[in-house]
Every structure is written in C-alpha cells, then in structure tokens.
Point group: C2
DNA sequence: AGGGACATCCGAAACGTTTCGGATTGCCGA
DNA sequence: TCGGCAATCCGAAACGTTTCGGATGTCCCT
C-alpha cells in the first residue's frame, strides 16, 4: 500500500482534492454522505496528513522549540526533567510538538535560534536561565518572534516571562539563618551573568542589612553551578582564619558540594555548620541531613510558561504578561542545631513578603 | 524586510531560482563568480532555508523523535535528563533535531507514533523502556520505519538496540549480598511488563541458585517504580514474621523508599538491613548511607543509540546491530555491615561475567 | 418566469524547495 | 566549417496541503 495522500483518497472516492481536504477538515460545505464516504476511505488507507506540507502552506508548524542551556560546564539543572515534563504536558494538551535542540561546538546557540525562527521550524520558543543582556531575547524581540522566558532580564523591553522571586527567597533563607543565631554567613553566588544569581544575591544583602548583620565580603564568592565547584569553594571558605558558621548557595548542586566539604573537614552539617541551598532538587530531600532550601515549583512553571507562549502565538495576549511566583522555604536538618541525626519533619513556609501568586503588568 | 526565499534572491541577483538553489547547495555547475554574488545576496537578506519546504521535497526531515515513556504513574526515570543529553549531543553533531512528544489523555501513545511516522515528521525514533510484546516496536517494524531501542524485547524480529545486561548486574548484586552473609534476601521487582524487570529478576534467581541459597517466594514482590511504592512494599516485608536481612530493588527510586521504610521501623540501613538498588541515579551517591547499586552508563547509551539510529536511517547498517553493555556494581554504605556512619569510599567493580562491551549479532 | 438563496462541489494558485532534463553559449580540434 | 564538448544556466514538475473564488444545480418565493 503506497502512502496515502489527499490525492489517493480523491481518486478512490471520485471527489476532488479540495473536497477531500474540506471533508477531512470538518468544513460544513460538504454533504454528510460524501463526508462519510471520504472519512471511510481515509481510514481504510490509513491516511495521516503530511505535517510538513501542512506547515508549509499554513505557515504554522504547531511546534514550539526549546534550546537546552549550555551555559555552565555541567549539564542542565537536575530539575530539568521536571521542567520538560511541565512543558510536555501542556504542549500535548494543545496538539503542539516540542522540538529540543542542543547547541554543539559546530552550531552556536544563536544559530540554533536563527534556524528555528527563520526556518519556520517552530512557532515559538521557550527560554530558560535568562542572562544579563540576553542576546537570545534581543534576537527574538528584533524579529518579533513569539517566546516566553523562565526568568527576568535587565532589558528594557516587555515580554512574557515567569520567574520565581529569588530576592524574596534568598532573603527568607538569610533571615532564617540569622534567626538561628548565625552572624558570619557566607554566600556562594552563581556566575553573575545569570539573572537569577543577581536577584538572589540582592536578597541576601537586603536581609543582612535589614537585621543589621555585617557582611564580610570575603565570605561572598562566585562559584559555578556544579557540585565540584561548590565543594572546592567551600573548602576555601572553611579554611579561612575566621570561617563562616553558615554557608548559603545559589543552587542545590553547589550545596551538596558544600556538605561534602564540611564532612571532609571533620565537621557536621547542621550542627557545626549550617547549609542552605536553592531549588529543592529531588536529591535535596534525601540527603542526610536533609537540605534546607528554597523550592521552585518547576513543573508548574513549565506548564504556565507553555500556556503563556501558546497565547502569545495565537495573538491572544500582547506578549507582556508576566508572573512572579513566591518561592517556598523548605526547612530541613542542614540548618537545624537542635537535631541532626535524622532529618526533621519537613516544614513548608510561604513567605510573607509576596502573597501567593502576584501578577505584574509592566 | 520581507522573508528571504530563493525567489527573492533570484530576483535580486537576476538568476533563476534553480541556479540560486544550486549555488547555495554547493553544486559545481555554477560559475564561481555567480556563486559569490548569490552567496552575498543571500547573506545580505539573511536567508535561511525553509525547512518545511525542504523536508517536503526531500522526504527527509532531519529530525528524530523521542516519545516519553508514560508507563508507570511516576514521571520518567531521574536519569532521563542524562539520557536526553546523550541523544542531544549526537543529534547536534550531525545536524539533526530532536522532537519530543508526551502522550496525553487525549492522544494515546501509539497515535503519537502514527503521527510521527506517517506524518513524515521524523526520520526515525528512539524508544526507551522496552516492554514485553511491545506494540510500539511491532508497529514500527510493520511500517519498516527506522528506530533504535534502549532495551531488548521478546519479539522474534531483529532490530537495533542497546541494552545493559540486567541479568548480570542483578546477579552481581545478589552475589555481593550473599557474600556479606545474607541468606534471607528480598527482591522487589518492577512490573513484569517491562523487559528489564524480567532480566533483573532472572539474574537474582540465577545467583541465588548458583550459591545454593533458597529463595523465599514471599520475599519476591512486584512493585511500582516509585519511591512511595517502594516504601510501602518494604514495610510489608519488614513486618513479616521472618523478615529479610537484605532488600534488593529493581531501581533506585524504590530503594530510596526502602531506606525510608527501614528507618521508620527504627532500624539502620547498612547495619540492620542491607539495601541494594539499580541504576545509580544522581541521588544514590548522596544518600546517607550511600546506596549500593548497579550503574548504567546512561549518557553513553543515549549517544550510541542515536548514532545507531542515524546509521539505520542512512541505510548504512541493516538494522540488526545490537550491543549489550556490562553494568558496573557500585558498592556504598547501604550494603556494608562494618561501617555505616559515613559513606565508604566508592568502589567500582567491573563484572567478570561480561567483558567490557560485547557486540552481539543475531 | 425570473431571481435569489442555498447546498455542494471543484480548479488553480500558492507555500518554498529540489531536481530532471534540457537549452544556450563559446571554444576546440579535425 | 562543423560536430562535439564543457561550462553555465534555466523551465517546469513535483512534494502534499490549504484556500480563494467561483461553478453548478436545486428549490422556493413572488
């Protein structure tokens, strides 16, 4: 059996290609009887529309693109799978496909976007890990191409994004540690080209200032997003003459490294040194002691971002809708002085600084 | 500036569409001078070929598909991100894109494949988590559509796959536990529709028989792949009159649940009860104690599978190439009686049963 | 009887690309 | 002088779909 097309169905039923197309398309200018005959024949032949041809004609590919961030040395955040699942759940519901691309040595990141956009490969893209002065976003804005971003930028344009309030999250973590009595608090911040690093760092400074706790600049260090880098940096901190009593990190991977470093120095996490992370990756809960961290509802973000992007594509919203989500502080054993052998019962605290979900229209 | 196409370049340079196409395509029947003129103009206009049109004409989409497994209740294996990264790294190198689809309530899994295949959306697909009497594989074989599978099946056809020798892996784990002195060993096996579950179960039985250790069938239970299910099942096992002294599971997620169950019963993992997992997900190393498990080189598998698929697509291999990889037993604190407070130094042992990488041609 | 309204169908162009099969030159050797 | 060959170029068809602008016929109303 050759490949079924509109033409083969047309020939088999005696109708024209146009009529077959319209029958299959559910238009109302085709007789019920004819439609049935055509549908039957289509089924018999196992017809599936050629999506390339359709996309070519409609100038719509029913596909959205996602380019894996290739920033750091380590591959994507551990919660990447969850993010993808969130995106996937929504694309599936609306009949869209998801095209994933990995920039390589040969093909630069921006070229991937060029291909996606100009090649008509996708109808819109989702970006993650927004950067300072983000070229990708600039490129897309310039072309008026639909997109939605996980994270804010410092660009003076408006577009659709969803972000977690990292400033509030990191501030909450800092306040928590201060309340536990810590004064010498270290903060390991991710590379400053990443927007989220800035907001979190800002939250740290603000909370310290608010409580009048002095910041020792030697305890504020930049660090790559990996476990190894975290361990390395933490060892340096712990070997200072006047080491910190608490170490906060810009993401959980780094925090895991810190915990290892603490152990390697013969100290105990949660008792001798408090550790705080950010993200709440799956492993955070299973560490011993459990990692106190700030949770981001990543699956949900993936979903919402997709929804938002689809609206932009349909032209339903002006592309300026943005949402700032309130993060949630998750307290576990890594920041608990009283008990550390067994992870304490998990406690979720909604921050008072931002109420649930806040919509912001620029 | 309107969209650049072959036509706009042709008009601008005064050459025909054919010549423009051939110049851009690098054919040798176009004058060097003309070619340069055309390339210049193409660059000036920011030309990018329309990939839909190209795909339609060439009947090749330069895209491979991946359908997320939707089998169990829980979302994909934690190492899914790594698998995807492996695939991505190879597709990028060869200029292919990756189309990811998530079956939803509305669109059944097999429909996704139908769309992919008949719709000309992809040139080949990668399957993971092969199943007993796998309909997907049957479908693809029937259509003579290129594909490559992570995992074997019981179908009597030959096709390209890569698998980890789960039988050998589970046997090695079992032998390890027996050597530690365990006699009452429980095994929590994943749903038997999954092929890998069968092989691992088989490895368990064989090792037990080899050492003459009796299997108590009440200690062999089927269990979903999630942490929760693992915990639940483990509690049942531990409450038996004559409970096991060691519990092995078919994947790491279940093992984490087991470890929680053990703790909840007031016993200590690695001391009172040995626990063994399978997969070596990232979290396994960070548990306390660390989880003894069997490692699968998942990134590498993603890469190789992609390479294999591309060869099948190019028609370079007959589609019958298959590889069985030797798993690696990773010993950590969860199966160590002597020491459990701190995870012991990680030890990797290559199994003697299968040498490095073994090629099998059916 | 004429006209309009409606139901049903179709031809042809278009989306942007590739490619087959020539067509047009200019030049060389015999 | 002419056949032939190489170097360049191009027209047109094809890939499979959607859609615009009718075409045809039927029936009813006045």
């Amino acid at each position: 059996m050759a490949k079924a097309t509109l033409k083969t169905i047309a020939r088999a039923t005696g109708y024209s290609i146009t009529t077959v197309s319209r029958a299959l398309g559910g238009f109302d200018d085709v007789n019920e009887e004819t439609r049935r005959a055509i549908l039957d024949e289509a089924y018999r032949q196992g017809y599936e529309p050629n999506l390339q041809a359709r996309a070519l004609q409609k100038r719509r590919s029913q596909t959205i693109g996602l380019v894996l961030p290739t920033g750091g040395p380590s591959f994507p955040d551990p919660f990447f799978a969850e993010f993808l699942a969130g995106i996937g759940s929504e694309t599936a519901r609306s009949g869209f496909d998801l095209l994933v691309s990995t920039p390589s040595a040969e093909i630069s990141e921006i070229d991937v976007y060029r291909r996606f956009v100009a090649g008509g490969r996708v109808d819109g893209v989702i970006l993650m890990r927004s950067r300072v002065d983000d070229v990708r976003i600039r490129f897309l804005l310039e072309r008026h191409f639909p997109f939605a971003v996980f994270g804010r930028t410092d660009l003076n344009e408006s577009y659709a994004y969803i972000d977690v309030d990292g400033r509030a999250g990191q501030a909450a973590m800092t306040l928590h540690l201060i309340e536990l009595g810590h004064r010498r608090i270290a903060y390991m911040t991710p590379p400053s080209t990443l927007m989220f690093a800035r907001f979190r760092l800002q939250g740290f400074y603000e909370a310290m200032a608010q409580k009048g706790v002095p910041v020792d600049e030697r305890l504020v260090v930049e660090c790559d997003l990996s476990e190894n880098a975290g361990k390395h940096r933490a060892l340096q901190l712990l070997k200072l003459d006047n080491p910190p009593t608490a170490i906060m990190t810009g993401n959980d991977l780094m925090a895991i490294g810190v915990m290892n470093a603490v152990r390697e120095m013969g100290m105990r996490v949660g008792r001798d040194i408090a550790v705080g992370g950010f993200d709440d990756i799956p492993a955070a809960e299973h560490l011993n002691p459990g990692l106190t961290t700030v949770r981001q509802p990543i699956f949900h973000i993936g979903q919402q971002l997709t929804l938002r992007l689809l609206q932009v594509i349909e032209g339903e919203i002006s592309g300026e809708q943005s949402t700032l989500l309130a993060p949630e502080l998750i307290l576990r054993g890594s920041s608990n002085h009283r008990q550390h052998d067994r992870p304490e019962q998990e406690v979720g605290t909604h921050l008072e600084t931002s109420t649930d979900i806040r919509k912001a229209n620029k």
